[in-house]
Amino acid sequence: MSRDYLFRRILIAIPSLLGISLVLFTVLALAPGDPFGELVTNPNVPAEIRLALRAKFGLDDPVWIRYVRWLNAMLQGDWGFSFTSRMDVDTLIMQRLPTTVAVIGAAQILAIVVAIPVGVLAATRPYSLFDQIANTLAFVGFSLPTFFTGLLLILVFSIQLDWLPFVYRTDIRASGWQWWWEHIRQSIMPVTVLGLFQGASLVRYVRSSVLDVIKLDYVTTARSKGIGEPKVVTRHVVRNALIPVVTLVALQMPVVFGGAIVTEQIFRIPGIGSLLISSILANDTPVVMGVTFVFACLVVLFNLIADILYGWLDPRITFR
């Protein structure tokens, strides 16, 4: 039964990815800017060669023909060629993707690990000192944009205290533990900035969700069983309260990726976010298309994970 469910969800993901790619492709085709723009002004390239190149790459064909061609190539594993970097788009993205996924993943884990206990503790003692402090910090946390807190951390920990590096490097010349240590050291600030920003709003959601559940009848039933308050909260309250929070985390994924683009710029992380920005600036359409499509895939993937988690957390869902 649950395999059917998973299969159905994956089937639904296919048309949505096709739709997303179509929209992306059309918008990029309509956007101003030409990857060969630079050739026009280059006196060393004769006009015939320029036109021949345009014809070779099919740049003057109608949008839908170009889309079908792109889709066809994509399905065969050919993601196109970066005009600026002189390499295949998929190679370029695969170089950058692990860094982004590691930073975003670590930040999300940090957000969840901080937000769930804090939100639950705040909700079980509403209006207590702990609750007030948690609420205030959460409010401050999601009011401060990441580009501000990022710069602030760089200023304090890299420039003033000189504890952490402020440029993220992938070419660390070390091996074994040393290599890991350097990576963790340079990830601390970006992960903290992104994670706490996400965690701040998550705390508020967890708190209100727990407050909703803790008043319900089955929690009273659980209390009447004499299993002790900690078990009542962890077994009967938190699990039910997490169901709406899962939706929220999944729906926030696009925002997280958006925030990651900004954070990657600030900390000079060579992830796909900074790749996207540099390729937009360079009119490198195949790379822009590739990166945005990867973002779309990741968002769809996280929604899929949320749906699976849903089925696991709430037995009523799988059977529908």
């Binding site: 089955y218 039933t221 069983k225 299993i227 709430d314 009523r316």
Partner: protein
């Protein structure tokens, strides 16, 4: 009267609200003997549910608080008892069945899990043993295919079946007192009778005392040995069931009994069902005298001036009325 199992003495459970103190339970006393069924009746908001929840200390504090009184369970006052000791009494000695079977089960755990939970906590059973225990309980409350149903989730059960599960949870640890808070109110009439019969069977089997909270006088007549009538946070009358129906002394009790629908009402000359005029007074600022005075057709000035004490009018029959 035999040995008292539970003795509630002058209990006051008040709730702090923005408008002031709500005196939901305001000086209630009652006792339950071993193996006895005591019915607590009264209309909505009279404090019967708060009294019941006070016994298991399931009142949210704040806003609620025990202003005064004692809840003596087998010689021990529960009010000052620490939470850890209270948890040893819950389910194992005193258990509760709730009003709303649709919401009193956790939707994300199987019914077996929810029954097994208290068995694991109180009897230290392993996972498998406790699930076997849960199957036994489901058989006892007459759920067909118990071995298979034990792995089902609450949403796969009907209302009546869920209430059977709730009863199975309550009885899993063989408590000496079962508090049933309007156990049939949310159910179809035909199912109501089944659930009451089941409670009777379980009582015959385990010999526990039952505190049956209800507003249905018919349920009282068929199931209880003694009755406590509550009105606006107070006990107004207490009597054995035959005595109460045969010789109700308090005007409120008389009104309650007259408001039971009767099939032969027309032939007896009452075309319409009788009602008690007026509404329950606010528990924020209860009137000084008898709380029923403004709805009572016999009320006189002395009724409004001072509160009538609960007095003995016959053996085991007490009433809080000066008439």
């Amino acid at each position: 009267m035999t040995e008292a199992l539970l003795e509630i003495k002058d209990l006051k459970t008040w709730f702090k609200t923005d408008d002031g103190m709500v005196r939901a339970v305001d000086g209630v006393s009652m006792t339950i003997a071993r193996g006895e069924t005591l019915a607590v009746v009264g209309e909505s908001g009279c404090g019967k549910t708060v009294t019941a929840r006070s016994v298991l200390k399931l009142i949210d504090m704040p806003p609620g608080r025990f202003e005064a009184g004692q809840i003596v369970w087998r010689g021990r006052d529960l009010i000052p008892l620490p939470a850890a000791d209270m948890d040893k009494i819950r389910a194992r000695e005193i258990a509760m069945v709730f009003q709303e079977p649709m919401t009193s089960l956790n939707p994300v755990y199987t019914v077996g899990d929810q029954i097994a939970e208290s068995l694991r906590t109180h009897h230290g059973l392993s996972r498998k043993e406790s699930i076997d225990g849960a199957v036994e309980m489901l058989k006892l409350v007459q759920i067909p295919n118990a071995e298979r149903r034990v792995h089902d989730y609450p949403h796969q059960f009907s209302g009546g079946m869920r209430q059977r599960v709730v009863i199975a949870i309550a009885l899993a640890c063989k408590p000496q007192l079962l508090i049933a808070d309007e156990p049939t109110t949310a159910l179809d009439v035909t199912i109501q009778a089944q659930i009451l019969e089941l409670l009777g069977d379980m009582k015959a089997k385990f010999g526990m005392a039952i505190m049956l909270i209800t507003h249905a006088m018919g349920v009282v007549a068929e199931n209880a040995q003694r009755v406590v009538v509550m009105y606006a946070g107070k006990v107004v009358e207490e009597a054995p069931v035959e005595e109460l129906f045969g010789n109700p002394r308090h005007p409120y009790t008389q009104g309650l009994i007259r408001s039971i629908p009767r099939v032969d009402a027309r032939t007896r000359g009452h075309a319409r069902l009788e009602q008690i005029p007026g509404t329950v007074p606010s528990l924020l600022n209860p009137p000084a005298g008898c709380r029923f005075a403004n709805r009572c057709r016999f009320a006189t000035d002395p009724c409004r001036d001072s509160e009538p004490p609960l007095r003995q009018v016959a053996p085991n029959h007490k009433v809080a009325c000066i008439l």
